[in-house]
């Protein structure tokens, strides 16, 4: 099992990260990338705050849980922090498996859990300089909770 965790300000390379998973010989690689979206018309950036000492181990625990639930060969989770303009990548979760269903399901699990079980907070910056902290979404809690009841294939 190959687990790669990144908590970083810098952007990452999709090619590098996915090729690392492709090379594990599994035949199936799935990925999800989250990008800063202009939710309100005047959002110009998201600021991602993290708890540095905790973030990497929280992501690693999520990845570890995924490897216990699905037959995975590799898991990559990279989460950025700092001020990220609209269009910038925030997070990558990606998996390698021999089975496409396992790769894709685990990927959905990883991002759902990253949203509720990793210490990151988002602040939305507007063009006029105003900013507000993003409120947690009930749908995100529900998505994470659904996996607790879920019996993976």
């Amino acid at each position: 099992m190959s687990i790669l965790i990144g908590v970083q300000a810098a952007d990452f390379s999709l090619a590098t990260e996915l090729e690392r998973l492709e090379a594990l010989g599994g035949g199936a690689v799935a990925s999800f990338t989250g990008i800063v979206r202009a939710d309100a018309a005047d959002t110009v950036a998201l600021e991602l705050e993290t708890y540095p000492a905790m973030a990497e181990q929280a992501l690693r625990a999520i990845a570890q849980t995924a490897t216990e639930r699905w037959p995975l060969l590799g898991v990559t989770m990279i989460h950025r922090y700092g001020r990220l303009p609209v269009g910038a990548r925030i997070v990558l979760v990606a998996t390698a498996s021999r089975h496409r269903g396992a790769a894709m399901e685990a990927c959905a699990f990883l991002i759902d859990w990253a949203k509720t079980a990793a210490p990151f907070w988002k602040k939305e910056w507007q063009s006029d300089g105003a900013a507000q902290w993003v409120e947690p979404r009930a749908a995100d809690d529900a998505a994470a909770a659904a996996w607790r009841a879920h019996d993976p294939k």
């Binding site: 989250g34 991602l48 705050e49 993290t50 708890y51 000492a53 905790m54 181990q57 929280a58 989460h79 925030i90 997070v91 991002i111 990253a114 949203k115 509720t116 079980a117 990793a118 210490p119 990151f120 907070w121 988002k122 602040k123 902290w133 993003v134 409120e135 947690p136 979404r137 995100d140």
Partner: protein, 84 residues
Amino acid sequence: MKLDLLYFSWVREAVGRDGEIVDVPAGVATVEDLLALLAARGEGYGVFATTERLRCAIDQTFAPLSAAIAGAREVAIFPPVTGG
């Protein structure tokens, strides 16, 4: 007992600092007790009274606010996470 406190997101902004070392008096057994102690300081610390909006981690592991702090070195107080 000395304890490192860390604040994140709007908790940090309300308090005006990202953490501090507190000397925990006897009788303060749980994170909830600690929050009550902090809230009693008033002003920005009033944020610690909004316990239903707060979450915590003890020594870098998520914990319920009812968790005991005996033996802890670092307690972080923050709103529900919104990353991903």
